[in-house]
Symmetry: C2
Subunit: 425 residues, 2 copies
């Protein structure tokens, strides 16, 4: 196959007509497939059936002597803190265990800065003239929307193979209006990039002008490896403290993609001083999160080793799905020189960069053929990809058979939109 | 027994010495009793053992065709909405089902006004010069703390036998800085007052100067009757709408004192326009609340009639506890003319008004004798009871035997502090 850019316009026209016919065939199948969100599939949900009746006897209602069925223990069950502390490599007293969603804890942390200010704020952020926030992109649309909803100016920071472009970050934090940065340090959403140790050290040692700069460390995929023997990141709390920034970072994690999406437990981890400060603010908001569900998770997940075993089972289900996407791209798209993509070793996404100016068009075509994808641009601040290139593929939810069909649709649409673009040039 | 105010100072001195001896005896028993918070007791927790393994088979994972174990359905399961709608007497589409705590939903509603403004706000509340809030008192300390934490000036509204003093409320809402009011319309915390229909109509027909005035209708004890045949309040959403105030009210409820405290489900109910507005704001914050726990509750609670049956069992446990407190007060305190109290027909508290100027001292003495009570003043804005009189008794948590002991301590302390006060006069 000749790469599209090298084709003559006649060759392109022939190829286009050929693909159009394929596309009409696909449309006629009335497909209804979804690769939009990082939702675990049904077989993954079934891995944790045992959690539904794990609390069987009266002694299960007690955890470290605490009656889990009654009010109290705002910061969470000690046993649940120990579990997260082991996974994240921090100390138990640095962990606050929340409800079913780390996203809500993240929103709430930014909201606290906005309404009350953080530990080192001179005033609440809502009293500031101008607020800015660093958004490594491509990134997680829901992160960006949180800070957008509070009126922050979102500053795009390009991603490199090692994480965010740190030259740009170091320069940007000289502006005291820059109040924080989103990060997904392991298997970044959507690129699947693992931040290098150098990048992580560079982040931990930042000297932001804002004394209340907030590093949002979303360790969403901390043990979500597709293969054995994947790397473990250094503990960011220790690292920040060692560089004199103990209060700069809040780390987040959840069991949403370990046990049940939207019915798991979540946590934030932070310095002792931040914990004291946040507890005081949270005391007006929270009596306690759902300790019964915390106890279910403690009993079911047991410890990190046991969790890793469970994550291996998730990986066994996910690996063929990732492979299916990558195989199709390698076979169908690679020879054409119209797109590039990464081969993630964990997380929930394959990030594809289509020929600039064709991502939106590709996804319009996908939709016409019954395949729903994350909106083009969603991985950038304000939902606007300046290159109109990045496409986030979420292969976890469909079955392998559905996925094969969905990816073949995507490939046809990528080709069609590339040819349209090339023919216009 | 001669009422204390009529005693001669010699008689009082003799009585005081007699009581001091009793008090020393009580202290020597090293009691550790708690009547501080409205926590259900262990026997109440055991009523709902069946909820722990109610999701047994694969069909239990589906509700109206929705997979409850996966992400999605931000506003909650339709079946859970139907359940709350039936209990509250509103429509299913007016209900948003949340997580384990209505308090968090309340905090969040006030927070949304503060950070983004409500539907009819001209600007977010954080941009206003001055913010005020109406607090019928005695009231719920956690309500007051929410608005205090956002910097509202708290305005105390006296409670009457029929609810808040509406002359004062009608006058107060003429001030556009007054942005809202807390209410607990049925079995108000702590008085156990049921707002009269006239009061409720008066509230629903308010014409506040602030276009974004927020009526916080905390229907915490909507079906929490101690006796059969208790009254049902008119639906506040319908009533507000009928007076041209459809968007003025947010109603709240939870199953915390129906199933499990801190592990139940909660909701808010509001107008269609408010729902549309809040959904847009919540979209940045919430993917979904815990639908698995919503499904547990739908399967376990079934419908309102079945819930009322369960509430009868709670009442059977609670009634003797309330009776124990009231019996002791009637026998020990009534003849002395040093305090008054109410006989609530539901809810979780007995509200006692001690001789003015003696509440704090009474609770210091209680603590010395090993009985923990809600802080004196907690039922008033800023934790300051201008009369130093109101004491909230929470009889639900201790066993009847513990309660007998705890109330006898309280009675001795009430007497001692009254005599100290009278002797100083």
């Amino acid at each position: 196959m000749i790469p599209y850019p090298q084709m003559s316009s006649e060759e392109r026209e022939a190829e286009y007509q050929h693909l159009l016919a394929q596309f009409e065939d696909l449309k006629a199948q009335n497909l209804k497939l979804n690769m939009a969100r990082g939702k675990p599939g049904e077989d993954q949900l079934n891995l944790t059936r045992g959690i539904f009746d794990i609390m069987r006897s009266p002694e299960d209602y007690l955890s470290d002597g605490i009656e889990v069925r009654n009010y109290g223990e705002m910061t969470g069950l000690p046993a649940a803190k120990r579990l997260f502390a082991e996974v994240l490599g921090c100390r138990e007293d640095q962990v606050f265990v929340g409800g079913n969603a780390s996203l809500q804890l993240m929103y709430d942390t930014v909201a606290k800065g906005y309404t009350h200010g953080l530990l080192h704020s001179s005033r609440p952020w809502c009293k500031e003239e101008k607020l800015k926030w660093l958004c490594p992109a491509p990134g997680y649309d829901r992160h960006f929307k949180i800070t957008e909803s509070f009126g922050f100016e979102l500053i795009t920071v390009p991603m490199t193979d090692n994480g965010p472009d740190m030259d740009m970050v170091e320069n940007a934090v000289k502006d005291p209006a820059v109040k924080g940065m989103w990060t997904v340090p392991k298997y970044s959403n959507p690129d699947g990039i693992v931040y290098s140790e150098e990048t992580i050290r560079c982040i931990a040692s930042l000297k932001p002008a804002a004394p209340d700069f907030l590093l949002m460390w979303d360790n969403a995929y901390c043990i979500h490896d597709l293969e054995d023997g994947c790397e473990t990141l250094p503990d960011i709390l220790t690292l920040c403290a060692s560089y004199g920034n103990p209060d700069m970072v809040f780390e987040f994690a959840s069991t949403s993609k370990i046990t049940l999406p939207g019915a798991g437990i979540s946590c934030f981890a932070c310095s002792e001083d931040n914990m004291t400060y946040m507890k005081k603010l949270l005391d007006a908001q929270v009596i306690s999160y759902d300790k019964v569900n915390q106890q279910r998770h403690v009993l079911y997940l047991k410890d990190k080793a046991h969790m890793i075993e469970l994550m291996r089972k998730h990986a066994e289900i996910l690996r063929p799905k990732f492979q299916c996407v990558l195989d199709a791209l390698n076979q169908e798209i690679a020879p054409l020189n119209i797109a590039s993509w990464r081969h993630p070793k964990g997380g929930y996404f394959v990030s594809l960069n289509a020929m600039p100016g064709t991502a939106k068009r590709t996804l319009v075509l996908c939709k016409e053929a019954g395949v729903t994808m994350t909106n083009a641009g969603a991985t950038f601040p304000y939902g606007k990809d300046p290159q109109d290139s990045n496409i986030r593929i979420a292969p976890s939810f469909p079955s392998v058979n559905e996925l094969k069909k969905a990816v073949s649709v995507l490939c046809v649409c990528l080709k069609l939109s590339a040819l349209e673009k090339l023919n216009k040039q």
